[in-house]
């Protein structure tokens, strides 16, 4: 058990990204340990979401390598890649629920793909997942178009968790939610992360979310990782970007608010 537990869920080695002739990332190394909540922060256009999309294989880096659970992302046969993909779940910024399917079918989709065919079992599993994200069975037959923004995120989270992943990737989990809902969603993610022992990688602009969730912060600036470590350590790094990002009055207030939620 420990051997499996000690491999790094996500490891980036010498990763570089190029869009056209501009280099977005240059030689990035990052290792995400098991059970940590790592937040990627940086100014807009620094390629945070790009990095997240490379971790799940939606984009391929120009150079370098992405390793998930100790193996290269694209290594092995189709079946092996599929098995690796089932060990992580991703929450997209807009939820990315299948709009032609209702909530129940959305959450059941990955389970059905995996081969769970017993309908009674499937029903209980989906209701359990919905209960985990604090949604009752009454929403199960609604279509995504009939849900509010916060509910869409919850359903999307339930779908991402359907196959019991070890790694969860979140793209702007609180974007588009009002402060109250956003705090509630952060609490939910935190509780689930603790209960299920998840490793989480998230991209966020929101300092409340950052302070409440992240155990480690990776700061992206000028195409490289400027600093990586616990928030308190990051705050002491002398750098103009970190100065502007973390030490302005607004940021301090947001961080204090986030910390009080833990």
């Amino acid at each position: 058990m420990n051997a499996a537990r000690n491999t790094l869920p996500v490891e980036l080695k010498g990763l570089s990204t190029r869009f056209g002739s501009t280099w977005v990332h240059r030689n990035i190394d990052l290792a995400v340990p098991v059970g940590e909540v790592v937040a990627l922060v940086g100014g807009s256009g620094t390629g945070k979401t790009t990095l997240l999309r490379q971790m799940v294989g939606l984009l391929r880096p120009a150079e370098g390598e992405v390793r998930l659970f100790g193996e290269p992302l694209f290594a092995g046969s189709r079946a092996e890649q599929l098995a690796r993909r089932r060990r992580f779940g991703m929450l997209f910024q807009q939820g990315a629920l299948f709009s032609a399917l209702n909530v129940f079918a959305n959450v059941a989709f990955p389970l059905r793909e995996f081969g769970v065919s017993d309908e009674a079992m499937l029903r209980d599993l989906v209701l359990l997942k919905l209960a985990m994200v604090e949604l009752g069975p009454e929403v199960a037959l609604r279509m995504p178009a009939e849900l509010s923004g916060g509910m869409i995120k919850r359903v999307a989270l339930a779908r991402a968790l359907a196959l019991e992943p070890e790694l969860l990737l979140l793209d702007e989990p609180t974007a588009g939610l009002d402060p109250d809902r956003s705090a509630g969603f952060v609490r939910l993610i935190r509780a689930l992360q603790k209960a299920l022992g998840l490793t989480v990688v998230l991209v966020t602009h929101d300092l409340d979310t950052l302070a409440a969730l992240a155990t480690r912060v990776a700061v992206l600036s000028e195409g490289r990782i400027l600093a990586f470590g616990p928030l308190d350590e990051i705050m002491t790094v002398q750098d103009p970007f970190i100065e502007r990002f973390f030490h302005s009055e607004r940021s301090q207030a947001a961080l204090a608010r986030g910390r009080s939620e833990i």
Binding site: A4, A83, D118, L125, L128, A131, G136, P137, E164
Partner: protein, 378 residues
Amino acid sequence: MSTQLRGARPQAAIDVEGAGARVVLSGDWTLSVLNPRCVDIRRQLEAASGAPAWDLAGVSRLDSFGALLLWRAWGRRRPPQLVLPEALESVFGRLADLGDASLPVEPPYRFLDATAHLGRLLLGLVRHLGHFVVLVGQLLLDLLYLLRNREHWPVREMSANFYKVGVKAMPVTALVGFLIGVVMSYLSALQLRAFGADTFIVNILGLGIIRELGPVLVSVLVAGRSGSAMTAQLGVMRVTEEIDALTTMGVSRYVRLVLPKVVALTLAMPLLTLWGSSVAIFGGMVSAYVQLDMSFDYFLNALPRAVPVANLVIGLVKGAVFGLLIALVACHFGLRVKPNTESLSANTTASVVTSITVVILVDAVFAIVTRTIGLPYR
């Protein structure tokens, strides 16, 4: 990898001790391990389900799938004597909280529902007609407004749409028209030669293509090509709230989006019809030359004598009317799209099917109304 992984992880195992009094579980009880052996595991659990004492101390991993399997085997409650490690407590806590929750039940289908369904279809049709009338009325009002305010004409959009639905449709229209002309001429020539009536090929092709086949053929092509594109474009703009953005800026969706499409297609269709019919007749001419040895010179000289010019006018007017109808139907369905993928595809399909049906219906009306015009042999 999956097989290696499963090999490396301890398998889920069920040991029954003391003649069914005590069940000891061990290994991994997770989705990836259990699902391939689900039937087997469930049978074993069923056989052991009566046991009062369960020992889960040997379980190395348990996820909600495994927990649910056990929970169902226990009849949705904890067995009297349960040895449960602290770490696994929370999974069963969540299951107990879930209780007997079940999906909301949809009411069963009854006989009266069929009547209601029929009624809803009819009301839906009435609603469609209502919306269509509103669309046409709004366009007329906007036209009146634009006649008084010349500077608000969306000239650029009209020009762009004209290029998109007219000029860009020329190659495909030519290709299909040419082939149809060749085929029609070839088949007619075979029959006409048997009766020694070779020269009538000019009448058949001229009348058939210019008056009837040209406009309808081009309409079907344009409905599939441009009508569907219009519906999809308006639909996506509905989904991405672009139309709402236009409205908040005080730009009328009818003036800026619908009118240019309608005007462009109404103007482009007669020209496309002329182009398509010409190429089809050219195809017929080529085929007649090969099959019947009829020279291009003779064909072109005989054409005006066989086909009075009224037929060309009828063909072009039909083209304009069909263009107007296709654009109106396409915009009508485009503006009805709801923000989901299902609605987008349903409305695009409905748009194409409806516009082709409407074109053929209106063509029949034309045939009756113009039955005394332009037919030399009656």
